[in-house]
């Protein structure tokens, strides 16, 4: 990294300044000699020269580097350097030839900047394409070996023999690996349901408190405090769930004569619920506040109490926004990883009892990818298959949520 910085400081920067100086000088002397006003300011001609010198040569350098790192063709270092210097000199020479009083250097620079800005915005598109293709591609590999239907409906998840194969051992006499994802999704569903049972009432009533009952001063305190809950790293929540909440749950269960597993679904569910409280409360608070004041006044003027106004007028009006908030929180809970990795179990188990140990989609993904298996093993690929389903579910939740909230906004804002 230091080397790159050094190259940059002693190589690129002085060259750029030289080009800038030459271009600006040409414009300045040109203005003095011909007496004609140049279209742009002298500094613009300086930048014009820099662009013509730097952009083509950096592009060449970039192509060479890509060729080298993807092992298609390794360009020797001296050839690399001489080529880019040559291209730079050519560019600079061309720029000087072009500089005359009616060259619109500023417009050229602006266009270049705009192209750079557009290129930057393409990165986010490329990210999406990268996500979709990498996950789609790898999960296609997975589904070419595992029947999609049995993946969706199977109730046995037992990749152990795949693990043996992945580790290079003969697994011909072991049982066939099973990739039935139902218990995994059931675990995810159980834990997120518990989380929502915690987060929705607490979050919603917090929002009601903030928007209707709290003074501005108290609201100014309460809102950031709630938002701290969303800002705490999930690994910290995971530790809390595993070290403090799980033993507590086990002890409580024992005291009422129930048997609880240390990797029970209840504790990560509760802790995850705490984490997503602000997702519910913040957005709900916003939508309740976005309802026009006259609806509130209209109701109060009829002699309704504040709670009646809230129950009969505001909440029904805010319902789309609240639904959207809950969907967002749900999507966050389904994709949440660290809490369940640290506090939920590894064993897929199909059960209705939240005190049993269960596993989730994200746990299986982490487990499959942090082992020492070859990248092509079926278990590794199964992580991408699960990731694909996870991506589709969360995206759908988000899209539905944003459609619902847009409808709400159209109505009131």
């Amino acid at each position: 990294m230091l080397k790159v910085l050094l190259y940059f400081l002693i190589g690129v920067l002085p060259l750029c300044y030289a080009a800038f100086y030459i271009g600006r000088k040409k414009a300045r002397t040109g203005e003095l000699e011909s007496g004609e006003r140049f279209h742009s300011r002298p500094a613009h001609y300086g930048w014009y020269s820099v662009i013509w010198m730097a952009v083509p040569s950096l592009a060449v350098s970039f192509i060479f580097t890509i060729l080298g790192s993807s092992k298609i063709f390794k360009v020797p270092f001296t050839m690399h350097i001489t080529t880019i210097l040559l291209v730079a000199a050519l560019g600079l020479w061309y720029a000087q030839k072009k500089i005359t009083h009616n060259l619109r250097a500023r417009n050229f620079i602006e266009k270049t900047i705009k192209v750079m800005l557009i290129t930057a915005s393409l990165v986010s598109i490329l990210t999406t394409i990268g996500i979709v293709f990498s996950i789609l591609f790898e999960s296609m590999k997975f589904f070419s070996q595992v029947n999609f239907f049995s993946f969706i409906t199977g109730t046995e998840w037992d990749p152990d023999t795949a693990f043996l194969e992945g580790a290079g051992r003969d697994a011909s006499n072991a049982a066939q690996a099973q990739f039935g994802s139902v218990p995994i999704f059931a675990g995810t569903f159980m834990i997120t349901t518990i989380a929502l049972l915690v987060a929705v009432p607490v979050g919603l009533f917090s929002a009601i408190f903030m928007s209707e009952y709290a003074s501005n001063r108290i609201r100014g305190w309460v809102k950031p405090i709630l938002e701290i809950l969303a800002g705490i790293p999930t690994v910290v929540y995971g530790f809390f769930a595993a070290i403090t909440v799980s033993p507590l749950v086990v002890k409580l269960a024992e005291s009422v004569g129930l048997q609880a597993d240390y990797t029970n679904a209840l504790s990560p569910g509760i802790v995850m619920g705490i984490m997503i409280i602000p997702f519910v409360s913040s957005l709900s608070d916003d939508v309740i506040n976005a309802i026009p004041q006259n609806m509130r006044e209209g109701s109060l003027a009829l002699g309704m109490t504040r709670s009646e106004t809230m129950k009969h007028v505001l909440l029904p009006a805010a319902m789309p926004g609240i639904v959207s908030a809950v969907l967002l929180a749900l999507s966050r809970a389904i994709g949440e990883t660290m809490i369940v990795v640290m506090a939920a179990g590894l064993q897929p188990r199909l059960s209705w009892n939240p005190l049993d140990g269960m596993t989730t989609v994200t746990v299986r993904i982490v487990d499959a990818l942090t082992g020492d298996q070859s990248f092509d093993s079926l278990e590794t690929l199964s992580a991408f298959g699960l990731g694909f389903v996870l991506l589709v579910i969360t995206l759908m939740l988000n899209i539905v949520s944003s459609i619902v909230i847009r409808k709400f906004r159209k109505q009131y804002v």
Binding site: R106, S124, S206, I243, M342, L369
Partner: protein, 387 residues
């Protein structure tokens, strides 16, 4: 019962409903706040003991034999109480300071983790005899608790008493610098394009929808992306700060774009018109006026997104950043770990002595986050302009 009393009764009932509703909403807040208090105090309770570390006073013999076999440098009965990690350092210490050779020094040395746990009154695996021995040493004043500086100067270790945060902190700094280097310029440029230049057409709308969706994708998916694209396709070394930084920068990109756009759009249009009215070109309007005016907002957003990145764990686990890193990395392509990943690996260790260290690591992590958020709040309050 006449009409009037019925009416009064009804009003009374309605007021009771009002009060209970209000109480319900207050109790929700109280519940959420007490979760927070319970949680924070639990972390402090578990972690504060790790601020101190037990040391024992003993005689250490430095000679040719003990350099060869460090266990011999202390008396047999002490060798169980002294950290093996310290003894392993003896050859190195002699090498660095040859005067030590053939001397016997009485010095305070790091105690073994189980001894430390016993002194702190926590469950331990010591035998009766050992406990008796420690108690007698304690009476002689040869065992004491001192500030645990090792926690901040050591890297990770398989011995709890030697384990520290340093390599994770340095790894975090590397990852953070890389994340900022990639995501801030690209994010701010994207935001400028969308807010100030982009025409209202299908292409712009696709970018906008896309960014909103990216912001909502679970972080673990970004880990899968990093694994498939950066590591498998481009050959970035696994576990390296570069792999982690690239992955996190893609993850924080949407957050930076969204907060920068908010900052840019909070600058009123009159400023744009004023600048355009005196003949500033589109880029000059942005560069001379809009960007300087929205800088505090952009910085606030960036700091907050970096705070998120610091605490992010899942995608980093996927790109392999949970490696065991005893010494800090010196380059971005070397294997590294980060604070939350270190917390994760310690929390998974079965030795109890790691638990308090995990909690202390969490306290450190939360303090850093608190500091960053405080800076962001101060920035916002001090420099952000109300139009």
């Amino acid at each position: 019962m006449d009409k009037e009393t019925r009416r009064l009764k009804r009003i009374k009932r309605r007021y009771r409903g009002e009060i209970s509703f209000r109480l319900l909403s207050i109790s929700a807040i109280v519940l959420a706040a007490s979760f927070l208090v319970f949680f924070l105090s639990d972390m402090v309770r578990t972690g504060y003991t790790a601020f101190e570390q037990t040391v024992v006073q003993t005689e250490i013999t430095y000679d040719a034999d003990t350099v060869e076999i460090p266990q011999l440098s202390v008396s047999e009965e002490m060798s169980d109480l002294v950290s093996r990690g310290f003894l392993r350092l003896i050859p190195q210490m002699v090498e660095e300071n040859p005067k030590l050779m053939n001397t016997t020094q009485t010095q305070w040395v790091l105690a073994e983790a189980e001894v430390d746990q016993y002194i702190k009154g926590k469950p331990n695996k010591l035998s009766e005899e050992e406990i008796a021995h420690i108690d007698s040493l304690k009476k002689e004043g040869k065992v004491k608790l001192v500030f645990n500086k090792w926690f901040f100067t050591n890297g990770d270790s398989k011995l709890p008493e030697m384990a520290g945060l340093l390599s994770a902190v340095i790894g975090t700094i590397y990852v953070l610098i890389l994340t900022m280097m990639f995501s801030v310029p690209i994010g701010v440029m994207t935001a400028i394009y969308l807010e100030e230049f982009a025409p209202d057409n299908w292409f712009t709308r696709i970018i906008e929808v896309n960014i909103n969706n990216l912001a909502a994708i679970p972080s673990i998916i970004f880990g899968l992306l990093g694994l498939a694209i950066f590591i498998n396709l481009f050959g970035v070394p696994r576990s390296s700060a570069l792999a982690g930084g690239l992955t996190l920068s893609l993850m924080s990109l949407p957050v930076i774009i969204i907060s920068t756009r908010a900052a840019l759009s909070s600058v009123p249009d009159t400023i744009r018109q004023a600048a355009q009215g005196v003949g500033a070109s589109p880029w000059q309007v942005v560069w001379h006026h809009i960007l300087p005016l929205s800088l505090p907002g952009i910085m606030t957003g960036t700091i907050i997104s970096m705070a998120h990145a610091i605490g992010e764990t899942a995608p980093l686990l996927i790109v392999g950043m949970l490696a065991y890193i005893p010494t800090a990395p010196t380059g971005v392509t070397q294997a590294a770990t980060v604070l939350p990943a270190q917390i994760y690996t310690w929390s998974g260790d079965s030795l109890r002595a790691y638990t308090e260290r995990t909690a202390l690591g969490i306290i450190v992590l939360l303090s850093v986050l608190l500091l960053l958020n405080a800076v962001a709040v101060v920035l916002r309050n001090k420099y952000e302009r109300k139009w």
